[in-house]
């Protein structure tokens, strides 16, 4: 059996690419090492319910936006209707820093007026920034990389406001430390602040199952518990993949969603002409990873006085976004109250999710006993910072689980558990191996919608000819 394309990884990007290619009659095989599909946006069972591993909220929501908006375009390519996603909008989110709080919602006007109220005189600057972001987006990102911090600080003259605006955007999609590429900033700014956020009432599972069934209905084949140990390259062309079990599968092309450096482990040729000859920096893995603790609530958070959907906070005026010196940076984080979205009917179980930056080197260096002890210690410290932000919720919450960078590495294969991949992105998906392409986190689009946009885009550009 020879496949037109073998896709490595059944995360959202690989599945979306598979759906698109199989729909147009390509013979496609998706190989997933884990026993469950979903990759960085998978789920697991705990306490009798489905718990999402990555999803807080879906960005790019924009239900009444133009047909040219990312979500609308993506859904047309996949022949999926917005209703199929069963998304319900956030109530309202907030950014909390020492002495200042900004509220934002799916109506961009709220953030705009909040900025003016909390930082008098900055309203016009904020609108100027929003216009610049819009402008860049409509020019299709043809400009080169630029420091977002430099650009934003040159427009917004109140340093605390700069930090506050960066906080959600970095937490939700920044692969590099301290700063981000302005194009990436613009993309996330639009998807979070302008288009807004929503949540599927039943989490990520229905979307994964929808993609899987679409893929299989079009004749696509999916194998789980089947990793790829090597890509066979001959004359600059991928000829076949060798599975962990030693099976050789011939193919006309390979689409890898594993990440660039992760792909290099099974196919060193993808790095062949990069670095010195390309004039760019040697690719380095990302180092931004997180812990997340998940608690089940026995009462609606709203009834306990907490009506926000998401709270992005920092206890320092300067928002530090980098691999922490300590195992966990407990001074900033994201709190997601999964019940606080405008659902048609209540969720089965309201969850409280709390994310903080963590040091992947530390967590991956521990032996089994140390790991268990350290997890307990840092969970306590992390919970402490959590429950000072949401007083009154501690007595209503039951701890379900906590994952660390080591957990992410174990289940997704991403080096350092870097959920946003490597800082340097390969926008066109092209590698030195002529018929091997990269999609997913290292292609550059992030988030639930972005990952699918990545898979569909690379499929369209390179594999549907």
């Amino acid at each position: 059996m020879r496949y037109d394309t073998v896709i490595i990884g059944a995360g959202l990007s690989g599945l979306a690419a598979g759906v698109r290619l199989a729909h147009y009659g390509k013979k496609i095989l998706i190989l997933e090492r884990h026993y469950r599909i979903g990759g960085l946006s998978s789920f697991y069972r705990a306490g009798g319910i489905d718990v999402d591993v990555g999803l807080h909220a879906v960005t790019n929501y924009n239900p009444s936006g133009p047909k040219s908006a990312p979500m609308a375009r993506l859904l047309r390519r996949l022949r999926i209707r917005l209703e199929d996603l069963e998304l319900f909008p956030q109530f309202e989110s907030r950014i909390t820093f020492p002495g200042a709080m900004l509220r934002f919602s799916n109506d961009p006007e709220l953030l705009s007026t909040q900025v003016e109220e909390v930082f008098p005189g900055q309203g016009e600057n904020f609108r100027k920034l929003a216009r610049l972001v819009d402008d860049l987006y409509s020019r299709d990102f043809e400009s080169g990389p630029a420091s977002a911090r430099k650009i934003v600080s040159s427009i917004i003259t109140e340093p605390l406001l700069v930090e506050m605006l960066f906080c959600p955007l970095m937490f939700y999609g920044c692969p590099q430390e301290d700063d981000m590429d302005f194009r990436q900033f613009a993309l996330i700014f639009l998807s979070v602040y302008n288009e807004g956020m929503a949540r599927p009432r039943r989490g990520i599972r229905p979307l994964l199952e929808l993609l899987e069934s679409r893929f299989e209905a079009s004749g696509g084949e999916l194998r789980t518990r089947c990793g790829v140990s090597r890509v066979e390259v001959e004359g600059g062309q991928a000829r076949a993949v060798i599975t962990d079990k030693g099976e050789r599968i011939e193919c006309g092309a390979v689409l890898s969603s594993a990440g660039l450096l992760e792909t290099a482990v099974i196919c060193p040729e993808v790095l062949a002409t990069r670095g010195s000859t390309a004039g760019g920096p040697e690719p380095e893995p990302g180092r931004m990873s997180f812990i997340e603790s998940i608690h089940a609530l026995d009462a609606p958070a709203r009834d306990c006085g907490h009506g926000f959907s998401l709270n992005f906070y920092s206890d320092d005026e300067k928002f530090i976004y980098r691999r922490p010196e300590e195992p966990v940076n407990t001074k900033s984080g994201v709190i997601c109250l999964t019940g606080n979205f405008d659902y048609d009917k209540p969720v089965d179980k309201e969850l409280l999710r709390h994310t903080q930056m963590a040091d992947p080197f530390y967590w991956e260096g521990l032996n089994k006993e140390e790991y268990a002890t350290e997890k307990k210690t840092w969970r306590k410290r992390s919970d402490h910072s959590l429950f000072t932000k949401v007083p009154g919720l501690a007595e209503h919450s039951t701890f379900l689980d906590m994952f660390t960078p080591a957990t992410i590495k174990k289940f997704t294969g991403h080096i350092n558990g870097a959920v946003y991949g490597a800082p340097v992105k390969i926008k066109d998906g092209i590698t030195p191996v002529e018929n091997l392409f990269i999609c997913g986190t290292d292609q550059g689009y992030l988030g639930i919608v972005g990952s699918m946009v990545s898979g569909v885009g690379i499929a369209n550009w390179h594999l549907l000819k």
Binding site: Y24, K67, S68, R73, R76, R79, N460
Partner: protein, 83 residues
């Protein structure tokens, strides 16, 4: 396939790609673009659906023929009448 059959086939394809569009009043002489919100990827999808469903190839230089319903039907008729 008759001209009418091809017209229906095109409508079915467009309906699949943009299910929310009202296609009942599409004027066959006016460009699709002025009546239906279709972008360049949507057009490519129409071409690929034609290949998938009817094994009809539309080379890139012929895309201008797909301007309106009547020009599309005229263009496809010789390719599809034997189907």
């Amino acid at each position: 396939m008759t001209g009418e059959g091809i017209r229906q086939a095109i409508l079915d394809i467009i309906k699949e790609i943009v299910p929310d569009e009202d296609l009942s009043s599409v004027d066959p002489e006016k460009p699709f673009r002025d009546q239906i919100d279709l972008d360049s990827m949507d057009f490519l999808d129409i071409v690929m659906e034609l290949r998938k469903r009817y094994s009809v190839e539309v080379p890139e230089q012929d895309y201008p023929h797909l301007l309106s319903m009547s020009s599309t039907v005229d263009y496809l008729l010789p390719k599809m009448e034997s189907l």
